[in-house]
């Protein structure tokens, strides 16, 4: 495997507090990488810097050997860098299928002129319905996201990200707030993404599910990478257990 993305010495501070203090790691092509760590470790911050939502104070982000540090969110998304929000952000004015259609038709929205001269939504609708079926939301296609329970909204967020045809998908706590059964189902769903050609970086607190589905772990603590490697070996490390669980 070769690195699809590389984070190089990222620093960012909020009000003098360093949320990321030299974070560096690589994401191998085709892997399922989980980023874990205690609250305040800088996991979501690091993910948001990779997605382009936050600009690092220093350091660089490479995607497919291209420096994307200065690229805005939408440009990274078009390069194949998908992102799902921790707190779901569906378009509440759209139906479920329309939410996915907008992403599925991303080629039509690449410029205002192209968008103005394109009218047919048939292909995007077909693609969106296929994704919804795959993700278990076909029965809710016509529903408003407001009518969906949290578990289904989380699925919708993933469906919308998949519709962008990403090569790398950044998932920010997709299991948060879900019941055990829902979390297991969601973990199963996203664990199948690498087989579909989508490399995954998952930030998640649900350690049980993370250890079940991740190929590799990166452990962050106090804005720095504490450890990385295969889950079984990383979790044996005393410093990781202490940082993550508070016990040695």
């Amino acid at each position: 495997m070769s690195a699809l993305a590389r984070i190089d010495d990222l620093h960012i501070s909020f009000g003098g507090v360093a949320a990321a203090n030299g974070v560096s790691f690589a994401v191998e092509r085709g892997e399922f990488l989980a980023v874990i760590g205690p609250n305040g470790a800088g996991k979501t911050t690091a993910l948001r810097m990779v997605a382009g939502i936050l600009r690092p104070d220093s350091g660089r982000v490479f995607f497919d050997d291209r420096d994307v540090t200065r690229l805005p969110v939408h440009a990274r998304a078009r390069l194949g860098l998908g992102f799902t929000h921790q707190i779901v952000r569906p378009f509440y004015g759209f139906s479920t299928v329309e939410n996915v259609m907008l992403a599925a038709g991303h080629r039509e929205t690449s410029s205002p002129w192209r968008a103005l001269t394109s009218r047919s939504r048939d292909l995007a609708r077909e693609k969106a319905r296929t994704i919804l079926e795959r993700i278990g939301l076909s029965a809710q296609a016509a529903s408003s996201p407001r009518a969906l329970p949290l578990g289904q909204r989380k699925r919708l967020e993933v469906a919308r990200a998949i519709a962008l045809d990403p090569r790398l998908l950044l998932l920010d706590e997709p299991l948060a707030g879900l019941s055990s059964a829902e979390a297991a189902a969601m973990a199963d769903l996203i664990s199948g993404l690498p087989a579909q050609g989508i490399t995954v970086v998952l930030v998640e607190h649900n350690l049980g599910e993370v250890l079940r589905v991740a190929d590799r772990l990166v452990v962050l603590d106090a804005g720095k990478v504490l450890a990385e490697g295969v889950p079984a070996e990383v979790m044996k490390r005393a410093d990781v257990r202490q940082a993550y669980t508070g016990v040695v």
Partner: protein, 277 residues
Amino acid sequence: MSAYVASLVSVIGINLILALGLNIITGFCGQVSLGHAAFYGLGAYTAAYLAKLGAPLPLTLLAGAVMAGAIGIVVGLTSLRVRHDFLAVTTMGIGFVFLGFVRKQKWLGAELGISGIPGPGMDPLAYALLISAFAMAVLVFSLWIKQSWMGFTFDAVADDEDAARTVGVNVSTYKLTAFGIGTALAGLAGGLYIYFARIILPDTFDFVESIAVLTMVVIGGTGSVWGVFASTVVLTLLPEVSRAAADYRLLIFGALLVLVMRFSPGGLAGLVKRRPA
């Protein structure tokens, strides 16, 4: 068609172009603008100035639209920095800046405006039909946008800018496009107005006019082309059918706004069920 009816048709046509233009900015793309009359005025002053220099009607209309659209894009840049109520106040300020500027410019007639504007080169009836043709073209264009991917993307920007970015939408470009199109249409309306009125005064383009146009959009249903069409026609005709309605135009507009906000925030169009995908 009598001269009175021709005049009425002209005013309705001009108001339709104004309201449908604002609907693209505020209704489609969700960017509040309380300074639309400034772009109406920009188009009118540009067209009037050129008309008095002897420029032909097509050129003055084009120049008015281009000038208003260009300044509209510059003003639209503020929408990239501020949102919602801050944007509303900023665009309101643009209206005051425009009025403050033209009122002090002697070469634009200052407080007296520009008079002695040449006619359109056709009789009032033909000119009313020309304005109507422009208004219908803008209506069709609005419907086209609504049905295109541009309309779909505008809806997404209006709904949640941050979510739109994560699905690859260049939100800034779409916002500027909405401002550019909407304000250019206001400029076109201004250009058409000068050949109808033959005189322009700064007060024609004041804050009250911006609110009147916004009222047409809100009562019709922000984002609804047919709703805005219907409300613009009705609200333009209202002062004509009743002297009382003319005297209390602002009061009636304000009361209608309150009633719509209370009972049907989606305006007239809100009464129609949303079409599924």
